[in-house]
Amino acid sequence: MIPVLTTERLTLRAPEQRDFDVFAEFYASDRAKFIGGPLDRDRAWRQLATEAGHWQLLGYGRWIVADRANDQAVGMVGIWNPEGWPEPEIGWDLFTGSEGKGYATEAAEAARAYAYDVLGWDTVISLVAPANEASARVATRLGATKEAEFDHPRLGHLHVYRHPAPDALVNGGAEAYA
C-alpha cells in the first residue's frame, strides 16, 4: 500500500482519519488561503479523502508528515498531480504551529528522492502561489528555480519551480527512505 518514508526527524506515512482534526484546523485557517482554503470541516474531510484516493488512482500521492517523537501530524507533503496540473509536483503544507522548523524542506527532499529513485522520474516541479513567500523559500532551499507561470481555473496564478534533476543532486537522498 502506501509506503512509509523516514527522515532524521520525520515519518511520512499514509493519511488516516485520525489526522483529520489537525488537517481540518489547518484548512480552516488563513494559512490555507494559497491552496484553495479556507475550508469548513465538511470540505476539509472531502479534501483529506481526496488525498487518500490520489494514491489509489495514480500510485503516488501526498503523505502525512508526522514528528517521529510522538507521531503528531505536522504537515502534508508529497507528489500531487490532479486533473489539469501541468506536471506532477512536489507539494508541501505545514499545519499550524509547525512552521519555521525546516520540516517542509526535510520532508520534500524525501518525497523528491522517492520520485527520482523509486518512481524513476527524471524531473519534477513545484507550484507556488506568487504571494506565498514561505513556500517560495522552501522551493529555493530545495534548489528549485522558477521557470514558468501557470494559470489554474481554481487556484489562480501560480509560479512553476523546476527541481534539480537527479544527476544534479550531489546526494540523491537515497538514505532518506532506506
Binding site: 500500500m1 502506501i2 488516516e16 482519519q17 483529520f20 470541516r41 465538511d42 474531510w45 472531502r46 479534501q47 483529506l48 479523502a49 481526496t50 488525498e51 487518500a52 484516493g53 490520489h54 494514491w55 489509489q56 488512482l57 495514480l58 500510485g59 503516488y60 498531480n81 490532479p82 486533473e83 489539469g84 501541468p86 506536471e87 506532477p88 522520474w121 524531473t123 489554474h152 481555473p153 481554481r154
Partner: protein, 185 residues
C-alpha cells in the same frame, strides 16, 4: 511527462465485483472519470446534490475522494458498467461523509443510464450486498424534497420517509429502506 496514463488499480480497495442482468457492479476506476465529469458538470442533473462542478479539477478531487472513502470505510460508490456497451452509466453505493447521520445508500445516474430501470436493478443488488457482507441493513437514503426522480426510485425500492432534516444547508428527506435480508428469504 504530462498526461500520465490513468492506470488502475495502483492500490487495492475492498470493492466487490458482481453482476446483475444488465450490469457489472465494480469499484471506481480511472477510466470512469470522463463519464463522472460529464455528469458532475451537468447543472440539471446535479442541482439536488450540490452541483454543478465548475472545473475538471473540482470533479477530479471528488473522484479521488470517492476512492479515499473506500480506503477508510471499506465501502463506497460502485460504478454501474452496462454490459452491452461497457459504458459507466451511474454510481450507486454506501456513503458516510463527515456530518452524515449514518451510512446512506446513494445514487448518481448519468444521462446514459436513465429511464431503463438500471438504477433500480443496481440498487437492489447493492442493498442486498450491503446487508449481507457489510452488516448494514435497513439503511437510509437522503434525498432533496424536490428531487422527484430520486424519490420515485427510493419509493420503488420500498423506502419510506422517516423524517425531514437538513443536509449541508439544504432541506432533506431521510428515507428508510426495508430490510434487505428479510426480503431475500
Amino acid at each position: 511527462m504530462t498526461a500520465l496514463p490513468r492506470m488502475m488499480p495502483a492500490h487495492d480497495i475492498p470493492a466487490p465485483r458482481f453482476e446483475t442482468e444488465r450490469l457489472i457492479l465494480r469499484g471506481p476506476e480511472g477510466r470512469d472519470f470522463d463519464a463522472v465529469c460529464a455528469f458532475m458538470k451537468d447543472a440539471e442533473r446535479t442541482k439536488y446534490i450540490g452541483g454543478p462542478a465548475e472545473t475538471d479539477f473540482d470533479v477530479w478531487g471528488g473522484f479521488c475522494r470517492a476512492i479515499g472513502h473506500w480506503i477508510w470505510n471499506g465501502y463506497g460508490f460502485l460504478t454501474l458498467e452496462e454490459k452491452a456497451t461497457g459504458q459507466a452509466v451511474g454510481r450507486i453505493g454506501m456513503l458516510n461523509h463527515v456530518g452524515w447521520p449514518e451510512p446512506e445508500l446513494g445514487w448518481h445516474m448519468f444521462a446514459s443510464g436513465e429511464g431503463r430501470g438500471l438504477a433500480y436493478e443496481a440498487a437492489l443488488a447493492i442493498r442486498a450486498y450491503t446487508a449481507r457482507d457489510l452488516g448494514l441493513d435497513r439503511v437510509i437514503s437522503q434525498i432533496h424534497p424536490d428531487n422527484a426522480r430520486s424519490r420515485a426510485l427510493a419509493e420503488r425500492l420500498g423506502a419510506v420517509v422517516e423524517r425531514e432534516t437538513e443536509l449541508l444547508g439544504e432541506p432533506c428527506l431521510i428515507y428508510r429502506h426495508p430490510s434487505a435480508l428479510e426480503a431475500t428469504i
